[in-house]
């Protein structure tokens, strides 16, 4: 179905999230939606799906103009959204999550999961998505959860698909597979819109581009022929500067040491990070990365092995005690572990360290974060996804650090802000912090790390130099997975 937005404006109080935006999505085509954090991309998708009402303007659906569409109507018209924030029930398995809100019932209201399972499997086969439907959502990696969200929309027969940053949680290879899925759907006549911060995906996979800046549409046109630099100029004003890795430390002492650590998925993980060193952890998401970060943070206790900071064991210390020894942690799952969604930006910036010169600290971190709008008193849920991430990082980086463990620091952050964050990580390392960087973004890992280790099936299966060729790194990541 063809969707057209005509002069859409959306205000939240005095914030203009969308400013007189007109755009159209066409059948059979993939439209990429670009813009910096807070530009209004998610807002536009929500309006198109009837999930919030525009302050002014209208939607034209199948040639019929309307000021407002209800979510139910939008669904009837086959519009499906895959949100930036997941909406899965953690304890439900994949199949139950697929059913939720759209239960397949037979006569007498008896639940009929069989038919749905068959349909889900057919869709997965047809479009090439892979999700384990037998596991509870909480046991899935972020990447798998993302695919489950997409499957949910597809199983419901949506033909207009609005994806909000579906590739933020995926490795480049996984992202390419997702775009292959989208292409197959578009070839079958679906209308596809996709928000992304990875500009290189646009020229590779999209047909059309719409660029938003501070709520206004600044470009709409064919994707073909646009270079990444041109896109960056359109979306961000300028191409972000390349990151430079800090010089490798010489004869530096070990700060963070993991010795044969094991728990859950993790088996015998031994690692050392030296003062001033950035060690990158590469691997397909779901191979133990989350567990590794949680063990180091003190959120989970290791079943085996030892962990030490500056030579002193960390065993038995809780999160706060580890922090006071100079350990900083950023978890990969922003929504569960990063932010308290109902609390203010202020409280999120100083969470776990209330009191003292709190007000000054919060103000300082807000400025350092670069989040916009730069306000402390608004609930953090009023910030766009990328801006929330900036707040989480500012909290972790806003203290003197001996060691920093960061997972997916630039996930959902626009290219310019991501470059600034990476520069900040390099700066932190240069100042003597030991950094363990977990990321699904291989380019990021290669650009920042002094060494790479590959985590596969819970084991460290390879140690590689950062300039290793990408194909070889990819093989190392998968090689273990196949073993």
């Amino acid at each position: 179905m063809r969707i057209e937005a005509r002069g859409l404006t959306k205000r939240y109080g005095d914030v203009v999230a969308l400013d007189d935006v007109s755009a159209q999505l066409t059948e059979g085509r993939i439209t990429a939606l670009l813009g910096e954090n807070g530009a209004g991309k998610s807002t536009l998708l929500r309006l198109l799906a009837g999930l919030s009402a525009p302050t002014s303007g209208e939607l034209v659906l199948d040639g019929v103009a309307r000021a407002r569409v209800s979510p139910a109507e939008a669904r009837r018209l086959g519009i499906g959204v895959v949100h930036q924030h997941f909406s899965l029930v953690p304890s439900f398995d994949g199949l139950k999550n697929l059913m939720l809100g759209d239960e397949p019932v037979g006569p007498l209201g008896v639940l009929r999961p069989g038919a749905l399972l068959a349909r889900a499997e057919r869709v997965m086969r047809d479009v090439g998505l892979e999700v384990d439907l037998g596991l509870p959502a909480e046991a899935l990696s972020v990447g798998e959860r993302q695919r489950l969200e997409i499957l949910r929309v597809l199983v419901r027969g949506a033909t207009t698909l609005l994806f909000d940053e579906p590739t933020a949680t995926q490795t480049r290879a996984e992202a390419a597979r997702l775009y292959a899925v989208m292409r197959r759907l578009a070839d079958d006549g679906a209308t596809v819109a996709v928000v992304t911060h990875h500009l290189d995906e646009v020229s590779a996979h999209a047909d059309e581009v719409v660029v938003l800046r501070r709520g206004a549409r600044v470009f709409a046109g064919e994707a073909r022929g646009l270079t990444t630099d041109e896109l960056a100029r359109l979306a961000l004003g300028a191409a972000p500067p390349p990151v430079s890795r800090p010089p490798p430390p010489v004869d530096a002492p070990v700060v963070l040491a993991l010795d044969a650590l094991g728990a859950g998925r993790l088996v015998d993980v031994s690692l050392e990070v030296r003062r001033g060193e950035i060690v990158g952890v590469a691997g397909v998401d779901g191979n133990g990365q989350d567990e590794l970060v949680e063990l180091i943070a003190g959120l989970a206790a290791p079943a085996r092995g030892r962990l030490s900071l500056d030579g002193a064991p960390l065993d038995g210390l809780d999160v706060a005690a580890r922090r006071s020894r100079g350990l900083g942690v950023v978890h990969g799952d922003r929504h569960a572990l990063g932010i308290v969604a109902g609390a203010s930006v202020h409280d999120n910036l100083v969470l776990g360290e209330l009191g003292g010169d709190e007000a000054a600290r919060a103000r300082q971190r807000l400025v350092a974060s670069g989040a916009s709008p730069a306000r402390l008193d608004v609930p953090i849920s009023a910030l766009s996804g990328g801006n929330q991430q900036k707040v989480v990082l500012a909290r972790a980086l806003g203290r003197p650090l001996r060691a920093l463990v960061v997972a997916h620091p630039t996930r959902g952050v626009d290219a310019a802000a991501a470059a600034a964050l990476r520069a900040r990580l390099a700066e932190v390392a240069l100042a003597g912090c030991a950094v363990l960087l977990v990321s699904a973004d291989l380019a990021e890992l290669r650009a920042l790390s002094h060494r790479l280790v590959v985590l596969c099936r819970g084991r460290v299966t390879a140690a590689l130099p950062p300039d290793v060729d990408e194909a070889e790194l990819g093989r190392a990541m998968l090689g273990g997975a196949a073993a």
Binding site: L337, G342, L351, G352
Partner: protein, 337 residues
């Protein structure tokens, strides 16, 4: 929602409640309008009636505040009922043994006993929650039943004057009645415990906004996982919240035992805890809202008593349910997303 329907909703709700009232009274064989006038006169129209409303509202506001403290932390304290009853027993038992003490010792000690017992009782549920993950709704309901069984047992075995009540508390442990201020209030149950109802919600609100622990309790209620990851001691905050909730519930006993009856007797606090939950929910998290809700429910209860002679209690209970629903559904609600 459009502006018109938003403003029309309370009006529609009030009209529906009034209609229901008329129907109920009519069904009971009374003249509707006259019943309404009688009821309102008996609760809000006379100084005595007002005093009774104040007395009820005192307990309800404190019990509501108790509920809110736990609710902020994401805990649903259904055990306020039992916590109040045990606290009332403690106030009676200790108060009766303070004949030697001047008022400035006797009142705080008797009140402190009530608060301490209720806090300990609630802390048990808190401990079960953080140590074993036992859900507080289940454990506090069970604790209510347990309290129901323990109270007569305790009265019968040493703590009571008879099997159903304690001895009278010492004169020095009694909280003066408001009737010392005005003769019009003579005979009414309202005492200076009403000050507790004014101060407690406000103090708690300050604590939740300003104090480190209080703020952390609220943050834990909003996002326990993220708090844990950020190093907030989540278990300890949950325990604090439920214990404090119990302690505040214990304060409720002061108005009833020390300010009114002068002793504890079985069943004298029945229903206050549950009504307090309704007040806590209606109060929407602000001290003023809490006081307004307590006055509303207190006035309804008193009206019900006045009408009791002519209209059956069940009918007025139905009406109160309707009023509470109406208030709950017409209030302003933040729409998110």
């Amino acid at each position: 929602m459009t502006l018109v329907t938003r403003h029309a909703r309370p009006v529609i709700a009030a009209a529906l409640v009034l209609t229901l009232f008329n129907l109920l009274v009519f069904a009971a064989g009374e003249a509707p309008w006259r019943a309404l006038v009688t009821g309102l006169e008996g609760s809000l129209g006379t100084a005595y009636g007002l005093g009774q409303v104040l007395y009820k509202a005192t307990s309800l506001a404190i019990a509501g505040a108790a509920f809110q403290v736990a609710y902020r932390a994401g805990l649903f304290n259904v055990g306020i009922e039992g916590q109040i009853a045990l606290a009332a027993l403690a106030a009676g038992v200790v108060g009766a043994r303070l004949g030697w003490a001047p008022a400035w010792i006797a009142v705080p000690v008797a009140g402190g006993a009530a608060v301490g017992v209720a806090a300990g009782w609630a802390a048990l549920a808190g401990w079960l929650r953080v140590r074993f993950g036992a859900h507080e709704v289940i454990t506090t309901i069970l604790q209510n039943r347990l309290a129901d069984a323990l109270l007569p047992l305790a009265l019968a075995h040493g703590l009571g004057e008879t099997g159903v009540r304690t001895r009278d508390v010492a004169a020095s442990a009694a909280i003066p009645r408001l009737s010392v201020l005005s003769h019009a209030l003579a005979g009414s149950a309202a005492s200076f415990a009403v000050l507790l109802a004014l101060v407690t919600p406000w103090l708690i609100d300050r604590w939740e906004r300003r104090a480190k622990v209080g703020r952390e309790v609220g943050l834990v209620g909003l996002g326990p996982e993220a708090c844990r990851a950020a190093g907030v001691p989540v278990s300890s905050r949950l325990l604090v919240a439920l214990t404090l909730s119990g302690a505040v519930a214990g304060l409720t006993a002061c108005g009833a035992v020390l300010g009114y009856k002068g002793h504890y007797e079985l069943g004298m606090t029945t229903g206050v805890g549950f009504a307090g939950i309704a007040v806590g929910l209606l109060g929407r998290g602000t001290p003023l809202g809490l006081l307004a809700a307590a006055l509303l429910v207190g006035a309804l209860q008193q009206t019900g008593l006045v009408l009791n002679a002519t209209v059956p209690k069940e009918a007025t209970d139905v009406l109160f349910g309707a009023v509470i629903l109406a208030v709950a559904t017409t209030g302003r609600r933040e729409v998110t997303r």
